[in-house]
Point group: C2
Chain length 161, copies 2
């Protein structure tokens, strides 16, 4: 892949254009992303939370789902993502699990906060130990859950991921 600054900014402009087009059409917030591998765009995403009734449909997750659908693979190893804004913790996790190798972004969480999207509280939340969290987590240990995990270990035709 061409690693010049112009190339990176070109893909970021593409992400901005996707975001603007779909924001204007009422899909959701002002966020877009593209995923690129070997110089080819393999996934495009934009925020569609309100139009799809899907709180997980942030631009980065939408782009990951698009790229995985296109490539028929749950791994995007060897690819990079260009996103109009620094990913929230949910999207950072999705990028991590998708094995994307580098994140390029234009606006940061401070810019996003100034237009009403505050990821800072979620970044704090994810960093805290369970007893200190704002969103309560309650553990009920049940032996059926232990057995489920043991069954996975014994399953001979499992596909690791």
């Amino acid at each position: 892949m061409d690693n010049t600054r112009d190339t990176h900014e070109g893909y970021l402009h593409l992400a901005v254009e996707l975001a603007r087009e779909h924001m204007q059409a009422g899909a959701g917030g002002p966020f877009g992303a593209v995923i690129v591998r070997d110089g080819t765009v393999i996934g495009r995403g934009w925020n569609r939370v309100t139009s799809d009734h899907d709180p997980t449909a942030h631009a980065e997750i939408s782009a990951i789902r698009d790229a995985c659908r296109t490539s028929g693979d749950f791994s995007l190893a060897g690819s990079v993502i260009y996103t109009t804004c620094e990913p929230c913790p949910m999207c950072l996790g999705a990028i991590w699990w998708a094995r994307i190798e580098t994140i390029y972004f234009a606006s940061d969480r401070g810019d996003a906060a100034r237009i009403g999207f505050d990821d800072a509280a979620l970044y704090r939340e994810v960093s805290l130990a369970l007893p200190d969290r704002q969103l309560p987590l309650v553990r009920h240990h049940i032996t059926a859950a232990d057995q489920l995990m043991a069954d996975w270990l014994k399953k001979e035709d499992k596909i690791p991921y």
Copy 2:
């Protein structure tokens, strides 16, 4: 909602059964989740990463998408989630954005690590400042991204979320 321990464990058993059924059918890993509001199950999910070619299709995210589809709403305020295992940072973020109010879980991240699912590295990653991250983030500021955010602020028919 009935808050007795039996009720909570009943829903956790339901999540385990969903997980087992779909794991055995080859959908993905041994994880399941149900979302409950006012005593009714409104969403069911199981891991479908490998079968759907979707690295974001963890049980909790699948359950959130199912519940939102059923209710025609991007908010699940007033609901709780029962998941067979402590959510990873991606799923914790999804639960946060969905406005789910409490998380009940059976196995924890230590149990998951012992069967090959290690969320600890991602929990560390999300907690770090950008320059310290393992997954590189590179910022390229472009004015088109500033303009995009300004356009959102000016948009009169936007739907807040």
